[in-house]
């Protein structure tokens, strides 16, 4: 029996219990399993297995709410929490925009298989994959570190009006850094639905090759350089564009850098950005945390700002009242949000783009990118694990890492080419994005390092 079947029946009993306290009840249950093996300095250093459950219950009365969260569905544990949640209602202000939530919608999701009692990979299988990668590095006198993880997650949503939705997904990630004794490093990663689909040899080879290419780096002056950002370096741009630029709440409150610009051209005409949970690299939830169907959104089309994510409440504020299925759990402090962004691919492969470039920096990925000015989405971070100078289509030497500080809105206006290859990757501060490589006419560097 899958754990999820048990959880679903416990959630249904919890619904009945909660309904004896409040008329309207929402329940979401999130279940996650993660098995992860970590290696560093050519040995396995950490190896963990976790299984967590979080149930979140919202009780509502006349536009006022109370909530509780627990990792147990045991009535003995949840009853006192539920009573506290009901007590909060007494002191909660009435939300004048309290929406009507979808009723009696049942999502029959084909991808829901339940999480089972364990993930595919037993620890010995993960160790075997890692050992062969470490041996390759050792044979070339290189040091490696990284992770191999197996993750599965399930979401179960219930509303007292009869809405019932369930969804689960799996992901396996291999990520590795390789360096020589002087610290010249390379990095590569892959995320697939399961461990069997990961091409370990390929990832291992890319990281090793990048590390070797990183030797004898030259120091460059801080100024603007034309760049090719590999897909992994593009995720950080999308994270902040999403968080700041596609924030519907900021837009409605007139504090968005894209305020009053719906329908206007805001990015380069090569840029198309979608939110698409059906994209094969995303495989996101088909519903949102209010039980609405998650629609595919065209946020940017040929550089024109077309739409924003909506939940029930914000749909009334800026649209025809129809949610497009991007709610986070009500009352959602930050408003609706896109969870499955995709920067649409271009026509040439990354290698073709590199082959056609002259005097460009090729950048593997970025480190600790953070928002320094929301007014034009200026971000700052450093390059990492492979910066190379390309002349006449060939990498001629490595370059020491640098700090960049630049506006995402400006960068997505100086696009020269977009690659046809896309990857799924999270940014340094999280999120998951499907992104291609970008060739930009300039990225502003503002600081140097010694390595």
């Amino acid at each position: 029996m899958t754990m999820s079947t048990l959880l679903q029946s416990q959630a249904l009993s919890l619904m009945n219990l909660a309904k004896s306290y409040a008329k309207e009840v929402f329940i979401s249950v999130q279940e996650e399993r993660e098995d992860l093996t970590r290696f560093g300095e050519n040995e396995i250093t950490q190896n963990v297995s976790k299984h967590t459950i979080e149930v979140s219950v919202t009780v509502a009365r006349d536009g006022r709410i109370g909530q509780f969260q627990s990792n147990s569905l045991d009535p003995e544990v949840v009853r006192p929490l539920l009573e506290r949640a009901v007590n909060i209602i007494e002191y909660a202000p009435k939300d004048p925009d309290y929406p009507v939530f979808p009723q009696s919608v049942v999502f029959k999701d084909s991808s829901f298989e339940g999480l089972g009692d364990a993930n595919d990979g037993d620890p010995a299988l993960r160790a075997k994959k890692i050992v062969s990668h470490i041996r390759r590095c050792e044979s070339q006198k290189l040091l490696t570190s990284g992770i191999l993880s197996d993750q599965s997650a399930g979401t179960y949503y219930l509303h007292s009006g009869g809405t019932n939705a369930a969804y689960s997904s799996k992901r396996s990630t291999f990520s590795t850094t390789v360096m020589d004794s002087a610290g010249h490093s390379g990095w590569a990663m892959a995320t697939e639905k399961n461990l069997q689909e990961i091409n370990f040899e390929e990832i291992s080879s890319i990281a090793i090759e990048k590390s070797i290419l990183s030797r004898n780096p030259k120091s460059f002056d801080c100024k603007e350089y034309p760049v090719i950002l590999e897909p992994s370096a593009v995720t950080d741009l999308l994270l902040f564009l999403n968080y700041v630029g596609f924030s519907t709440q900021s837009y409605v409150e007139d504090r968005s850098p894209l305020k009053r610009k719906l329908g206007e051209k805001v990015l380069h005409s090569l840029i198309n950005i979608y939110d698409d949970h059906t994209h094969p690299l995303h495989a996101g939830m088909p519903f949102d945390f209010e039980g609405a169907s998650r629609e595919r959104l065209t946020l940017i089309e040929k550089g024109v700002f077309k739409t924003l994510p909506l939940d029930q409440k914000y749909a009334k504020k800026i649209s025809n009242g129809q949610s497009n299925g991007h709610a986070l759990p009500y009352p959602s402090s930050g408003g609706p949000m896109c969870l499955n962004l995709q920067l649409a691919p271009g026509k040439d492969s990354l290698s073709t783009i590199v082959a056609g470039a002259d005097r460009y920096l090729l950048i593997t990925h970025l480190h600790y990118t953070n928002l320094i000015d929301p007014n034009d989405i200026t971000i700052t971070g450093t390059t990492r694990d492979g910066v190379y100078w390309v002349e006449k289509g060939k990498i001629v030497h490595a370059v020491k890492n640098m700090r960049f500080t630049d506006s995402v809105l400006r960068l997505l206006n100086v696009v020269e080419a977009i690659s046809s290859d896309q990857v799924y990757k999270s940014a340094f501060f999280g999120g998951g994005f499907v992104v291609p490589a970008l060739k930009l006419s300039g990225l502003r560097f503002t600081g140097k390092t010694d390595y």
């Binding site: 969260q69 929490l81 050992v131 992770i147 850094t177 009352p331 959602s332 700090r403 600081g447």
Partner: protein, 487 residues
Amino acid sequence: MKKQNILDSLDLAMKICNQAGVDYADIRIVEMSDEVLKVRNGLLSEIVNSKNLGYGIRVIAGGAWGFASSANLHSQEITNTVRRAIQIANASAMKINKRVKLAAEPIWIDRWATPYIIDPFKVSYDEKLQLLYSTEEILRNNDPRVKSAWAYLSIAKEHQWFASSEGSRIEQEIVRSGAEIGVSVSDGNEIQRRTFPASSGQYLQGGYEVILGLKLKENAAKTRDEALSLLTAPPCPSGERELIILGSQLALQIHESIGHATELDRVLGLEANYAGRSFVDLEKKGRFQYGSRYLNIIADSTMPQGLATYGYDDDGVRPERYHVIKEGVFQTYLTNRELAHNIGETRSRGCNRAEGWQNIPIIRMPNLSLAAGDATLAELIADTKDGIMVDGIKCWSIDQYRYNFQFGMEIGWHIQNGKIVGPVKDPCYQGITPEFWGRLVGVADEEHWHLWGVPNCGKGQPGQRAEMSHGTAPSKFSKVSIGYKQA
């Protein structure tokens, strides 16, 4: 969960581990209670009212680590979890270059708890929410330029039980409380922000008295007015200038450029794939000039009220107070039982901590503070010819060796000829860690010294969150590179 059941579970887990013949084992049972109440633009926008209980079992078998966790305390599941941890350790043992060796630690049978005056979970919702509503109303003030106003409080109680195969049995109860208020303002063109007391909240160990002591309501009008003043303030001048850094920002500067840089696991390369390594390589121990003679950094998980104050870390090690940097010279690293021997130390510094029960402990910062100096803030300002004073964390970014950093703050004040001329907007500065601390020319005295909490330090894969505090007094630096736009 009944106390007897907890104690029985500890004993059962250790019994199974001993029977299995592992080299070492420990179990941590953790019960977390959390509450967050947030009011934004007149509405209750976030409610956390949560309980979470489970356990993690850590074993060394065949010289390698294994870790498994579960929320189910039935004896059969404890047995399964131990088996899984051993199975994982056996897999880890397929590629180790040396057997895990733990630094010796006395056996402790003890109980430790945060002292507090008012149990924050017993304060009524009415009282807590009235404080938030009335404060948020002052922040908003029906001013159309105030686009978003918020006030939240956050309390947590962590009850943990630890047992090791060596015989230690430790019970700890940690209580912490904190809050933040803030506004986001706009005149239709740009947006600015100001928060109080610190931009991701100010927290201390203690009860509801901590929140009352922050005086949120009393500081709401000033916070709002400072934000509004930024809408007409000139941009921060750039170039190399003198810089005075106030409380919470200086705490983050210490956190990022000293705290993470001196974590021994980073130094040894074990975090290389994500958080990164450190420029403070092993050669530097005991001799590296990290900063000027004013730089005295003290690690102390025994001090009152720190977020990383505890009787014992998650290795069961009782922490002590020690210098990480003394008069500018780097002394030693933050360690755990596993790694201490790498730097020739025979005892752990007590820095191994995990988030909750579901994660394995890793090296985390203790409370790490800058010792107070002997100046007053007024003297530091009076002594400044052409400089900027900054406050309020807005942006932080530092490279993977903790070497090149850039920070942005909410507000700056231009100082000319020893006097504050007025506020400036969007201040930011950048530097190279040892050069920057080398330019520390003055630290304010104890009167100005405060302990600032960092509630959200991320590290590790899978990612874990940890809390710690940094004590700081306003400090002055000569010649810091300010601004990025003209760079």
